[in-house]
């Protein structure tokens, strides 16, 4: 129980670092929270529930995460926006063979310049984590979002 509690608290710190990287524009820090061989996918609830494999972002390695970040900076054209993550309900599902399975709820609030802040996206994370050099890293983060409908564009990772 005590170990499990410490693990939850450590996961909370990791999620906080994850949110900070995205919210404060420190995007380079974002791939660093993943293992080199990793999966990151953003999936609408309906595809997930019906077992359809399509994802809005579909990264199969840390390299692909870095390519996303580079494209965001160099290739894509979009209106400036500020994001704010609220992550709660971090929960260890199970931990076996050195792999931690965890989940959390999130909401992402978006502000476009001279617009009011809006509720952009909500959902849950389904994670697998492993420890490398003492630090927990995401081996897999699956983002399952509640709405099938994205308001406008999904520019930044969730």
């Amino acid at each position: 129980m005590h170990d499990r509690l410490l693990l939850r608290l450590e996961l909370e710190d990791l999620n906080t670092a994850y949110a900070a990287a995205l919210d404060e524009g420190e995007l380079d820090g974002w791939p660093a929270l993943f293992t080199a061989a990793c999966t990151y996918r953003i999936v609408p609830r309906d595809n997930f529930e019906r077992g359809l494999p399509l994802a809005l972002m579909h990264c199969e390695s840390r390299g692909m995460l870095e390519d996303r970040v580079a494209s965001l900076r160099r290739a894509s054209v979009y209106a400036p926006r500020a994001l704010r993550h609220l992550i709660s309900g971090v929960r260890v599902l199970r931990s076996d063979g050195g792999v931690v399975h965890a989940t959390a709820n999130y909401a992402v609030l978006q502000t476009l310049s001279d617009h009011e802040t809006t509720l952009f996206n909500t959902g849950r994370y389904l994670d697998e984590l492993v420890r490398e050099d003492g630090a927990l890293l995401f081996r897999q983060r699956l983002v399952i979002f509640d709405s099938v409908l994205v308001p406008g564009s999904l520019v930044y990772p969730l």
């Binding site: 579909h58 199969e60 390299g63 494209s71 564009s153």
Partner: protein, 407 residues
């Protein structure tokens, strides 16, 4: 009768009130989406089994696409014939009949009314009058056409031509290039709400000019570039069109010099993202087809999708992306398609540019209804071309649109 006078300049000007006016929008619902036109409603692979259904929309109008117990496809309005309830509330599923929850009027999968509870009353009291005929109270039904797994609907008895004639030989050929009769596999959906008028989406896909300039990703990695062999093809009316292009290993050129979007030093950490495999006959590596009034067929390298437009008032529309492959794809091809899907959709490395641009357009022109777009690239006429430096397909679209709309 014209709602407002069209500005001088004819085919090369599009007045900005066309994108925001409520009367224009209402007329579009009647004449564009309600006319004798084949509107895309889905893939047969989305409703593979008997009784499988999915909800969708034609313009503003909610409908249900369903496969009956004999395997035939039907499209009915999602509106109970009794008192208007949107009876189908699940996005997709399997049904043996449609039961409206309010009073349980029950329809078969063809939309015919089959049961009205307490219709004969109880103990001689109440119920439907003697002259009530079940046959008069079915769901509103639509004509359905399927070709190689793609399903369209049109107003019943509205006088729509055969789907093949509606598309015309050039468009049919390109349609059959992707929908070649093989079984399709559904990979999944993406859906986004874009705060701009729906017509911008067609303009965007009929506009090869922007692709060479806006999309750093396409240009840098040679997926679509002004200096590649290409063509713009239309049907006889101009309502449908296709942009066709061929990926080539061209070096930086005089053309790329004019393209700020070419970034010679941009390299991928994981090049699997762009690992296209030729799979269609002929030279073309990209064919983007726009089919009046609500469908885009996307073939960009190995990423295949239909994009369906659903109007949400003059100031917004939903774009529904349905990605697919073929039943004979191997695992590597499926993986390739899913990876390349990173370029498309609400989070697409390429298509985010477009959805943003449509919103910038709408925001820019809405306060200036009396100003107008300038469509002079490639001349003033409407004609097929074998290059990309033209807005001819947009001119063709509006020429036909004005005819339909009486504008």
């Amino acid at each position: 009768m014209p709602i407002r006078p069209w500005p001088a300049g004819e085919l090369t000007r599009v007045p900005f009130w066309l994108y925001t006016d409520a009367d224009v929008y209402a007329r579009e619902q009647q004449r564009v989406f309600g006319g004798p036109t084949w509107c895309y409603v889905g893939l047969a692979a989305e409703v593979p089994g008997r009784g499988d259904f999915k909800r969708t929309q034609i313009g503003d109008k909610p409908v249900v696409l369903v496969r009956d117990e004999h395997g035939a496809l039907h499209v009915v309005a999602n509106r109970c014939a009794h008192r208007g309830v949107q009876f189908c509330q699940r996005d997709s599923g399997t049904a043996r009949e449609f039961i409206c929850p309010y009073h349980q009027w029950t329809y078969d999968l063809r939309g015919a009314l089959r049961a009205v509870p307490l219709r004969k009353g109880l103990r001689g009291q109440g119920g439907m009058p003697a002259d009530f005929r079940m046959a008069d109270h079915g769901l509103e039904r639509m004509a359905v056409a399927e070709r190689h797994g793609v399903v369209f609907a049109a107003a019943l008895d509205g006088g729509a031509p055969a789907l093949e004639d509606y598309l015309g030989p050039a468009m049919l050929g390109l349609f059959d290039r992707v929908f070649d009769g093989r079984q399709l596999t559904l990979l999944g959906h993406m859906r986004q709400r874009i705060k701009s008028n729906w017509k911008f989406m067609f303009e965007n896909i009929k506009d090869p000019y922007h692709a060479s300039l806006l999309h750093v990703f396409l240009v840098t990695f040679g997926l679509f570039r002004a200096d590649q062999p290409s063509a713009v093809v239309m049907d006889a009316t101009g309502r449908h069109a296709a942009l066709i292009s061929r990926r080539a290993e061209q070096p930086a050129s005089t053309a790329t010099a004019e393209m700020r979007s070419f970034q010679a030093d941009f390299r991928l950490h994981d090049p699997r993202l762009l690992d296209p495999l030729r799979e269609f006959p002929g030279e073309a590596t990209v064919v983007m087809q726009t089919l009046w009034p609500n469908l885009i067929v996307q073939q960009q390298s190995n990423t295949l999708a239909t994009r369906q437009l659903v109007t949400r008032g003059p100031d917004a529309f939903d774009l529904i992306w349905t990605f697919f492959g073929y039943a004979d794809d191997d695992a590597a091809m499926t993986a390739r398609r899913l990876r390349q899907a990173n370029l498309m959709g609400p989070a697409g490395l390429v298509s985010v540019d477009d959805s943003e641009m449509m919103e910038f357009s709408h925001a820019g022109l809405a306060p200036a209804p009396e100003a107008a777009a300038v469509l002079e690239l490639g001349g003033h006429d409407v004609a097929d071309t074998d290059h990309m430096i033209t807005e001819t397909a947009i001119r063709g679209f509006y020429r036909y649109y004005r005819e339909v709309m009486g504008l």
